[in-house]
Structure formats: structure tokens, C-alpha cells
């Protein structure tokens, strides 16, 4: 085979591709949103919904309202493969795009959050992590550009214990109960251990932690210990990816009742329950948003995007847990821009302006209704000191092939979470020699 004839076109194409990549297309009256998600790799089933859902929402805004106050939204996709180094690469590649640069950044991975938030602070680009990310970042005094908004992992966990308490018939009934915490053996999985232990002490229940090694294709050893030896009253599932359906199947195999298993929102989507088949029936999961297509905002997406054949995803994925999560992410992103425009005028806004807007963002019932998302997401309010909002959590149960809401919005226990967040933030500030800014 002659190398030259074959290789030259390849090299030429490569050189062309490299040299044309990463161009900014500067145009006025546009607001640039980066979309990094993962369409490949072990987590692609969820990742494709995240990217697609956000884009669908932005498309709908452009189509229905002509953007935000006349400013069109633009975006560019970036494939991260759920890998930290690719997320950094995406961040650096896209940060100068659009007339005002990148508006805000969703890393869509906890590891990626840690890798970009310091750069983002320097570049003045707010990093929004809804439902994941650096929990300590809820303290806005130390982390001005990090927004783990709505509900962080620790808050979520307190709501979960309250939910379990309510199922038992009162928080005092938790005394002497046994809870097994089955978690992904990673930084993400281990994050709730401190708050669980603090609550165990407060309410007098017992908690035991069972790490599951990545990727969790076979978990028998853990489930035999749980099912035959520990025999807990409740199980908290804190998994990710293929670990979740496997856990449900293993639970069925040791005859542990699935309606005593409560998952975090990364263990509670159709992608987690469908593969488990009948083993998932009755399983409960937390959520910071609801599933379903009945909300006006989703209907608008169908009307303005899908009915015109512009949708990013197969229609049947609309209204799924991950899809609706992405729509919530899109709404918070767009509302941050709108808020910033209210403050500085109806023009494309910069990252720094969005950061200020986020710190005054008040997603009250009226505003959520205006978005057509009543019931889809809880109310929350961010301030300079509180970048989380401590929003309430809803619990849903997998029944007959779909998620059914079984609880109202359950408030989180900020009296427990906030001091721990502040302690973690203070520790970080001390390590890095940061003087927390004053928020008064």
C-alpha cells in the first residue's frame, strides 16, 4: 500500500480541521450558551438527554419569543465523554465564543466542576451545577462564581431522611432503625457520608456504608451482606450509571423490598429502572423536579420544536426524568440571563453580569408559573451568601413502567446543612488563603 497516496488527504483534512476549529462567530444580539454533554461512553444514555433537553428549551425560546427580550440564544455542543480533561478542553475552547463570551457553564460532572471553577472565577464565568457539583460551593462568600443551585447533595439527603421518617410515622420513629447506604465508590458516592452520620446521631438511627466499585457490574458481595446479615429497614441508593439497575436486580435477588429503597436523583431515572425490569417495581427516588409532559413548558417545546421537526431527541424521551432535568437546567440558565438583562438592559450580557443576576435570582411561584413550569420545579431564591437556595425535594415511585409522584415537596433541613457547608467552605478558604467576601 502506498503511504503517500493514502495518507496525504488524511493529513490535509486534519490540518484543515485543526486550523478552522475553535473560531468565534461574533454577531450582535446573541447570547452564547455552551452545551457540553456526553453522547458517548458509559453514561451516554443520560448525557444525550441533558444536551438535547437544554438545546430544545433554547430552541423553543428562540422560536416562541425570539430569544430572551430579542436576544437570540446560540449554542455549540461539546462532547465531554464525562471525562474531566475533556470538560476542561470544552471550557477553554468555548469560553470566548459569542459576542459576550460564554454566558455560563454547566460542567455536567462533579470532577469537571472542581477542574473549572477556579478558572471560571478568573474568567468571570458563573459555573452552574444543578443537582451535583461542589457542595461547599453553596457558600457564596468563598465561591463567588459557583452556583450549586436548587438543592445540593447534603440538603437532598436531609429531605430523604425526613421522607423516610414520614413513612415510618414520624421522625422519632427513626430511633433504632437501620439504614444501609449503598454508594458508588467515588468522591461523588462518598459525599453524603458525613451528613448521614450527623443525622444518625441526631435521630438515633444506625447507618452502615457499602461502597460499590465502579462500574458496578456485579454487586453480589454487597447485597449478600445487606440481605443476609445487616437486614436494614431502609436502603439509600447513591449510584450512577449501570450500577443502579444492577443494584435493583440484586435487591430483588436477596428479596429486599424495593419500596424500602430510596435513591438519589442520579439513581432515579427511566435509564436506571427500565433495564432492571420487574425488579424495579416499587423503587423510590428523590428528585428536584417532576417527570411528565403535562407542563405547559414541555407542551411549548413540543409545539414549537418537535412539531416542526427540529427536536434533538426521539419524541418518546420527552417528559422523562433526565429530559425534564435538562429543561430545568435550561430554564435556570435562561432566567439568569433574563434577570441580568433586567439589571443592565436588553442586550447580550457578560458572565460577570449573569453572576450578579444569579445572586438575586428569585424563582418564586409566580415566576415559575410564568415559565409554565408549576409543579415541575420547586421554588428557590439565591443570595450573595447562599448559592444553593435549599429547595425542596420530591419523591417519586416507579410503578407500572413510569414514575409516579408519591410525596409533596419536602423541605430540606438547612439548620443542619448550612453549618456543615460553611465549615467545608471555611476549610477550603483556609487552604487556599482566600478571605471570604462580605455579603452584607
Amino acid at each position: 500500500m502506498n503511504f503517500r497516496t493514502l495518507a496525504l488527504p488524511v493529513i490535509a483534512a486534519t490540518a484543515f480541521a485543526v486550523s478552522t476549529g475553535g473560531q468565534a462567530f461574533a454577531q450582535a444580539k446573541e447570547q452564547f450558551m455552551p452545551i457540553n454533554a456526553y453522547w458517548t461512553g458509559p453514561y451516554a444514555a443520560g448525557g444525550s438527554a441533558f444536551g438535547g433537553g437544554m438545546i430544545d428549551y433554547f430552541k423553543m425560546l428562540n422560536e416562541r419569543d425570539g430569544g430572551i427580550n430579542g436576544v437570540k440564544l446560540t449554542w455549540e455542543k461539546c462532547e465531554t465523554g464525562y471525562k474531566t480533561d475533556r470538560i476542561v478542553e470544552c471550557y477553554e475552547r468555548l469560553k470566548k465564543n459569542g459576542p459576550t463570551g460564554m454566558t455560563l457553564f454547566h460542567p455536567m460532572s462533579t470532577g469537571g466542576t472542581y477542574a473549572v471553577f477556579e478558572r471560571a472565577e478568573k474568567d468571570q464565568i458563573p459555573v452552574i451545577t444543578l443537582g451535583y457539583g461542589n457542595t461547599a460551593g453553596s457558600d457564596g462568600r468563598v465561591f463567588p462564581y459557583l452556583f450549586p443551585a436548587l438543592t445540593n447533595y447534603w440538603s437532598q439527603n436531609t429531605a430523604k431522611i425526613r421522607f423516610i421518617g414520614s413513612q415510618e410515622g414520624g421522625m422519632d420513629k427513626l430511633k433504632g432503625k437501620k439504614i444501609a447506604n449503598v454508594h458508588h465508590d467515588s468522591a461523588y458516592g462518598k459525599e453524603t457520608i458525613p451528613i448521614l452520620e450527623a443525622q444518625a446521631e441526631k435521630y438515633g438511627f444506625e447507618v452502615k456504608h457499602y461502597p460499590v466499585v465502579h462500574p458496578g457490574l456485579d454487586q453480589k458481595a454487597i447485597w449478600l451482606q445487606i440481605g443476609r446479615q445487616y437486614k436494614p429497614d431502609w436502603i439509600i441508593l447513591r449510584g450512577w450509571g449501570v450500577m443502579n439497575p444492577t443494584a435493583l436486580k440484586e435487591a430483588a435477588r436477596v428479596n429486599f423490598p424495593r419500596d424500602k429503597m430510596v435513591g438519589v436523583w442520579w439513581s432515579g431515572a427511566e435509564e436506571d429502572t427500565v433495564p432492571a425490569g420487574p425488579a424495579a417495581e416499587g423503587y423510590i427516588a428523590a428528585g428536584f423536579h417532576a417527570s411528565g409532559t403535562e407542563f405547559p413548558v414541555i407542551q411549548d417545546i413540543i409545539k414549537h420544536v418537535y412539531d416542526k421537526g427540529n427536536g434533538e431527541l426521539p419524541r418518546e424521551r420527552l417528559g422523562s426524568i433526565y429530559y425534564n432535568r435538562a429543561v430545568v437546567w435550561g430554564m435556570v440558565s435562561a432566567e439568569a440571563v433574563r434577570q441580568a438583562q433586567d439589571m443592565v438592559g436588553k442586550r447580550p450580557v457578560t458572565g460577570a453580569e449573569v453572576q450578579k443576576a444569579l445572586e438575586t435570582l428569585d424563582m418564586n411561584a409566580q415566576r415559575i408559573e410564568g415559565l409554565g413550569a408549576t409543579g415541575l420545579m420547586p421554588t428557590f431564591k439565591l443570595t450573595c451568601a447562599d448559592h444553593e437556595g435549599g429547595a425542596a425535594v420530591k419523591f417519586q415511585q416507579w410503578k407500572g413502567g413510569k414514575w409516579v409522584q408519591i410525596s409533596d415537596w419536602i423541605e430540606t433541613d438547612q439548620s443542619m446543612v448550612r453549618p456543615m457547608v460553611e465549615a467545608a467552605a471555611a476549610k477550603y478558604a483556609k487552604e487556599k488563603n482566600i478571605t471570604p467576601r462580605s455579603c452584607s
Binding site: 500500500m1 503511504f3 493514502l6 495518507a7 488524511v10 483534512a13 486534519t14 484543515f16 480541521a17 485543526v18 478552522t20 476549529g21 475553535g22 454533554a37 456526553y38 453522547w39 458517548t40 451516554a44 444525550s48 444536551g51 438535547g52 455549540e76 455542543k77 461539546c78 462532547e79 465523554g81 471525562k83 474531566t84 480533561d85 476542561v88 478542553e89 477553554e92 475552547r93 469560553k95 470566548k96 462533579t110 470532577g111 472542581y114 477542574a115 477556579e118 478558572r119 478568573k122 461542589n134 457542595t135 461547599a136 465508590d185 467515588s186 468522591a187 462518598k190 459525599e191 458525613p194 461502597p211 466499585v213 434533538e312 456543615m420 467545608a424 476549610k427 477550603y428 487552604e431 487556599k432
Partner: protein
Amino acid sequence: MIYREAGQFKTSYAADEAIFPIIQDRWFVAAILAIGFIAVPILGNDYWLGSVFIPFLIFSLAAIGLNILVGYTGLISLGTAGFMAVGAFAAYKIATAFPWMNFLVVLILAGIVAALVGLVFGLPSLRIKGFYLAVTTLAAHFFIEWVFTHFGWFTNYSFTGVISSPPIEMLGFVVDTPESRYIMTLSIVVVLALVAKNLVRSELGRAWMAIRDMDVAAEVIGIPMLKTKLLAFAVSSFYCGIAGALWAFVYLGTVEPQAFDINRAFEVLFMVIIGGLGSILGSFLGAGFIVLMPIAITNGAAVFGAAVPADVLSNLELIIFGALIIFFLIVEPFGLARLWQVAKEKLRNWPFPY
């Protein structure tokens, strides 16, 4: 005609032992260094410096480390990512325990820690060979990964287990702009590459190659197996450890075991094989190929890929990447470094056919 050694006489032993005995090579290397140190920082923007050249340089370093083991000594290892993680965590522990320490000293100490760990996990290589050895180095990888995930001491008992790396300070100068990070990485990589180039030409390097070509024969002619193989593991891990520390401190800005998962080990192995086994230059070429290719495919596809759905596009990237690996192997199984050699041979006679 362009590339000819005719007329270049070696008149001293020193000249005979030079790293680049031919003047054209010396000019070429000097030109590359000039481009690297002067042209790139001036012409490159933040993205190119911070997200393309720095990863390329760091991976080149890791590839040199692995090449010493695989290419020069013939011991296949998949423990690279583990040793990189050791370097990263060692650097984190040292830098947080002694915040006043110069970053270069931290790096060297981290490299030494990685070398010691490599030494321990190199022990089975005395008895186990080939692919079997590759899989036992996976034992090292998974064990190291588990240790860093499970013992809070390594992360200074952080609540979350992901830690952000401390700022890099050298002689009162904070290295934080892409330019300064790039120059620092480039300097480290150039020095270490020169050291490696000399090392493989030394007695030790020749002993490594003897073992690679036939270890029983090497033992018969009196090369000490234990010492030579373990030194290969130690030196290789030293390079990987420094690469890992740079990856965490200079590129990611965060230290986490997931950044050094098993795919990372495979990635570095691809670089070594695609670049060329037993070639320092090949390590750079291989790293360049693996780092640039996905970015080029993504950007290339983005140019005319608006009509293709995102998930298809991303998977097409995988297909193209896989096909290119196979294509290059079929065209030139001995790696990009061999292509370079062939090119030099051609240049020597050019414009005459032979």
C-alpha cells in the same frame, strides 16, 4: 541532498558521542526548540496553549516514561495511570505539607515517590512476561486507585474527596497564566526528554534493550536481571509520576483518582505504539496524534456537521479514531517514528531516486 552527513567528520570522541551527530539534526532540534519556546507562546492563544499544547507535552512525558518500559525494555505495562496518580497525590501531599517548597522540588520528590512505588510493583516482572505481565500491572493500577479513593489521608480528609491543587509558586513568581504554565511544562519536558535520550544511550539503556531483544540471552552475557528490570520500572514510574503531577497541577487544577482511570493507561500505551516503540521522538509524535486527533475530528466535523445529530457525530468520532489507528498500523506498523526515518532516508538522496 538536503539531509546529508557527507563531509561531517568526527574528530573527537565527544563529537562521536553527541546526541545528534549530524548537523542537520542539531539545526532541526534547535529550530523546534525555538518554535516551542518563542513562536508558540507568541502566536498561540489561551486555548491552544492551555488545552492543546500543555496536555500534549504532559502526555509526551508519560509516553517517554512508558516507552522506557515497553519500547526499550520490552515489559508491557498498563500501570501507567496508577503511577501517574501516585505522582499527583504525592505532589499534593508534599505541596500542602510544605507550602514554601519550590514546585520543581515538589515535582522531583513526587517523581521519586512514584519511582519507589513502581519498584515494588515491578517485582513480578522478574518472573512474569508478555501479556501476563500487562495484566499484573493492572493489579497495581486498581490497587493504587482503591488506596487513593479509600484513605482520607491522601486527600487531607476533604469532605468530598476531590481536591483542588494548590497554586504553583516558584521563587516568588506565581505560575498561573497559560503562557507561564506552558513555558514551565515545556522546560521540564525538554530537560527530562534529553535525560531520557541520554539514558537510553548509556550502559543501562543498552542493557534494557538487550533484555527486550532476548532476556535469557541478556542474562547469559551477565546483565543483572533484577537490577536492570527494576531500574526500568523505577525510571519509567519517575517519568510517569512527574507527568501525573503536572497533569493534576498544571492542566486540571484538581487531584482526583478518576482523572487517572484505566483508559488513561491505555491512552498512553496507544501513544507509545503509534508513535514508535523504542523511540523518544516517537513518544512525542504519538502523544501529538492521540491528543490532537479527537480535537481535530470534533472541530472538523463541526465545520460541516450541523446536519448530523450530536450523538451520531460523537460516535462517528470513535469510528474515525479507531479506523485511523488501524489504518496507520497497516501502513506503517512501526509507528510514526519510522515514517520520520523513512522521510530522512528519502531526503538524503533527494532529488535522486537512490
